[in-house]
């Protein structure tokens, strides 16, 4: 399952994969993932998968298992640390993003996700 707020990811994979679109921020994606993990899904990709910092991009796609299992400690630990990391970056500069930059950032998020999909 892919949780994303990147419409490029959603539109590209909505017909072939299980994609949940979040109409919200990077943090909203992290929170949505966290709640899924609390229900027993596991992380498949690192929630901070790219080295593009939360202060630089509003887009995030994260892959988790379709199946629910016992709660996975490592997943919980990683998502909580990701949320802490997210919070410590100053996001007020994100408002400067124009359409062209947004497209670039969506592309990066998409390709980082695909680097995991293509294995």
């Amino acid at each position: 399952m892919i949780i994303t707020n990147n419409d490029w990811v959603f539109n590209k994979y909505k017909n072939s994969l299980n994609v949940v679109y979040i109409d919200g921020t990077f943090k909203d994606v992290l929170i949505a993932v966290r709640d899924k993990l609390h229900m027993g899904h596991e992380l498949l990709t690192h929630p901070l998968g790219s080295s593009v910092k939360p202060s630089e991009t509003p887009y995030k796609s994260i892959m988790i298992t379709d199946n629910k299992n016992n709660i996975n400690f490592n997943s919980i630990y990683m998502i909580e640390n990701a949320i802490i990391t997210y919070d410590k970056f100053n996001k007020d500069k994100l408002k400067f993003i124009n359409e062209k930059i947004a497209e670039d950032l969506k592309l990066i998020d998409l390709t980082v996700l695909e680097s995991a999909l293509n294995i």
Partner: protein
């Protein structure tokens, strides 16, 4: 010239040892005891205008009053800086130095400095609040202490930028500050590895969060007689969150009276926690803080009683920044209230 008020105990004021530890705070004009060494180090840049002398027992046994009196004394001189100690390894002196320095900083809003041995209990208590220079473990280290404290004192008094702990000599305070090392990182890594391999002492540049352990307390002898308290990190609060506990890394905790409460309901309680989906806890807060069943146990005599107050915080289970400071505080309260055991629930 910068004006400084200095705080020392009865021993360093040459009043006497343990037998004179009961003397209350008094203020003396000018320099007393170790102040002389400081004054020499300051040269013409600063002047110790007054020295406050207080017995260690007196301070620790009459803390609130002592604090109040001393702050009044300090205020009178309107100093640019307040120095306490150094206390070396003297535990009560260290706690006094830390306490009074923090109080002066908080209430008079002037920079403060103290010094003590890293294992002095005062160091752990106050290192994140005030600058504490790391000293040797006895008064024989006075020269060394003054050598480190005096320059830092002047910097603080002038309001200059304070460098990293390893440069300035203060005990690490949890604030990471950049500075230039003498050697590049790779060289330091090689040296550190060689030290680690040969079993020699080495110092990590970035200590991992505390993973210390506390030994388990003995079991409760008779649970049917025990007073049991409920504590939760799941953020259960009375509906409306009257104390405005923040949803994450909260800086405070809640303490709530549940006298006569037999069940937590959707109408009366909720969760303030931002770290999980709150739907289920809000529907029935007993799912996080099981007051209903504890009351049942109390009635059936399975436990002695349920403590009248429950304590609540929010906190990520894994967050490294812990709620240590306020947990210490309410743990003491629980102990003082005669609580025999605690059930701590986490989400």
């Amino acid at each position: 010239m910068m004006k400084i008020v200095h705080y020392i105990n009865q021993f360093f004021a040459n009043v006497g040892g343990e037998e004179m530890a009961h003397i209350p705070a008094e203020v003396r004009e000018g320099i007393v005891g170790p102040g002389l060494a400081f004054q020499q180090a300051f040269k013409d840049e600063a002047e110790i205008v007054a020295t406050i002398v207080c017995g260690d027992s007196y301070f620790n046994e009459n803390m609130d009053e002592a604090k109040k009196t001393i702050i009044e004394m300090v205020k009178k001189y309107n100093p640019d800086l307040f120095i306490a100690g150094p206390a070396f390894n003297a535990g009560r002196y260290g706690v006094a130095c830390g306490t009074i320095a923090k109080a002066v900083k908080d209430e008079l809003n002037i920079p403060v400095l103290t010094g003590m041995y890293v294992e002095n209990p005062g160091a752990d208590m106050f290192k994140n609040n005030i600058y504490i220079v790391s000293t040797k473990n006895s008064a024989a280290g006075m020269r060394d202490a003054v050598k480190k404290m005096a320059p830092l004192a002047l910097k603080l008094g002038k309001g200059e930028k304070i460098g990293a702990s390893s440069e300035e000599g203060y005990i690490p305070n949890g604030v990471r500050v950049n500075f230039y090392e003498k050697e590049r990182g790779s060289k330091r890594a090689v040296k550190m590895l060689l030290a680690k391999l040969s079993g020699k002492e080495f110092q990590t540049e970035f200590p991992m969060p505390d993973f210390d352990r506390v030994t388990a307390n003995p079991a409760v002898k008779d649970i049917t007689k025990a007073k049991i308290a409920l504590v939760t990190s799941g953020g259960i609060v009375p509906k409306g969150n009257p104390d405005h506990i923040e949803s994450s890394s909260a800086s405070k905790y809640g303490k709530y009276d549940i006298d006569g409460v037999t069940d937590l309901t959707e109408e009366t309680y909720e969760t303030a926690h931002g770290g999980y989906d709150p739907v289920y806890a809000n529907q029935d807060p007993d799912r996080v803080l099981p007051v209903d069943i504890m009351r049942e146990f109390e009635k059936e005599g399975k436990i002695g009683s349920l403590h009248r107050y429950f304590y609540t915080t929010v906190g990520n289970g894994t967050a490294v920044k812990s709620a240590k400071a306020f947990a210490e505080k309410y743990a003491k309260e629980l102990k003082a209230d005669g609580v025999d055991a605690v059930i701590l629930t986490s989400t």
